[in-house]
Subunit: 230 residues, 2 copies
DNA sequence: TGTAGAACTCAACAGACGTTGAGTTCTATC
DNA sequence: GATAGAACTCAACGTCTGTTGAGTTCTACA
């Protein structure tokens, strides 16, 4: 009980109205409780990651009994999966990428990625995903899908360049690292650099990964059957 | 108790010799128990991250009572700090960087970074650090120090280029993302690409971040007092 | 109007967790 | 050879965890 992520949680009390317990049973009118739970869950996962976020804490934030969460979602893991849904709409990237020439792809990818973090709803989902990915298979799998299946994989394959998957993961590695330093670690000066600044610094990197020359070693190895050395 | 990171832990038993308890009290001869604990701790933190790794599990792996760990290290957090010490020897980078021309700096930085992951002792420490960094201040602080104070900060400052800190964090972001995709997420084809391949793909990126032109937006903003938009 | 079932709460479970204090056995120093 | 203290184990503490089952109140449909 040294350093817990929960706020100052007085012994019990949760969300009861001043004195006496909230009565059990269904509430009159239509219920938006499920959404409240999901919002609280996303906030908790974003702040603390999968391991440190607790069902009890989420329940308290949503003003609800912990058991109700499991009534809806059956387990913490499934709650997490539900909370992560629709973290990113790949359509945005494609639309903007298609509208511009292929030589501006790098800048557009970086800008779209950074702008995706601006709306609080998206930001909270992405933070939850990233904070949890190091120790949670679901979150890491989600990142992998975004990179190789949903976003950058399709982009590089559409481009018709060789080494599509390698290019996709290279772009992904740069954006992943950027996001962690900027939004999770909040390390300066990257944390408070403007989007313009980052686009002009990192855009060319993404551009090269997407369409450029990846160097002789990469070329050779891709043509060979197995990979030497390591 | 859905998905724990611990192995198959039969109720008790830890490391007792078949039957009966191991007797208490000091063991004869010189003790290397402290080192055994640290090794087990590093392995656990590398596998599961700070939150999921447990003192009890580490104690079992080291063949020792949990209380002994706290006798040595006073708390889980301090155990973690001790386990992370000497994760990287910055001297390696400097020596190799000094030996080559400034136009090969990018390739050298990438290669040195990747090679640092090869020895199991270093690998396990770095994995522990990265796996824990998303939810643990100590680990993230350690990463920040490596980036801006111990390794890349000094390098960029020695180069005499403008925007030293920005360049340092940019290189750091690329290497951080690379390490997470390759060593934590093990996402292909990046996970099993050869070092040569990665050096020729990512080296130019690092080179540009270190000594190249970061683009007009970056230049302008660095000369102005405050940063606009955001 | 009756009834199935959804939406809720309560109380408890069993097990984990970090940490503590007291006790035992050895080593080093005088 | 006595003594301080380091190196260890044991048993327990208090708290927190995800999850369960039973009970209550409402809604929707026949």
């Amino acid at each position: 009980m040294t350093a817990r992520a929960r706020k100052a949680t007085p012994p019990r009390e949760t969300a009861r109205s001043r004195e006496g317990a909230r009565s059990p049973g269904r509430r009159p009118g239509e219920s938006r409780t499920r959404e409240a739970i999901l919002a609280a869950a996303r906030a908790a996962f974003a702040e603390a990651g999968y391991d440190r976020a607790t069902i009890r804490g989420i329940a308290a934030d949503a003003g609800v009994d912990p058991a109700l969460i499991l009534h809806y979602f059956r387990s913490k893991e499934r709650l997490f999966e539900a909370a992560l849904e629709l973290a990113v709409r790949p359509a945005d990237v494609f639309a903007r990428a298609a509208a511009a020439g292929p030589d501006q792809l790098g800048a557009i990818v970086v800008r779209t990625f950074l702008e995706a973090w601006q709306p609080p709803e998206t930001r909270v989902r992405l933070l939850a995903m990233f904070r949890s990915a190091m120790t949670n298979e679901t979150a890491m799998g989600r990142i992998r899908d975004l990179l190789v299946r949903e976003v950058f994989g399709p982009i590089t394959e559409t481009l018709g360049v060789p080494d599509a998957q390698l290019r996709a993961t290279l772009v992904g590695s740069q954006l992943l690292g950027l996001a962690i330093i900027r939004f999770v670690g909040r390390i300066e000066p990257l944390a408070s650099a403007s989007i313009e600044e980052l686009v002009s610094a990192i855009g060319p990197t993404a551009q090269r990964y997407l369409t450029g020359d990846l160097g002789s070693a990469a070329q050779e190895e891709r043509q060979a059957t197995g990979s030497p050395a390591r």
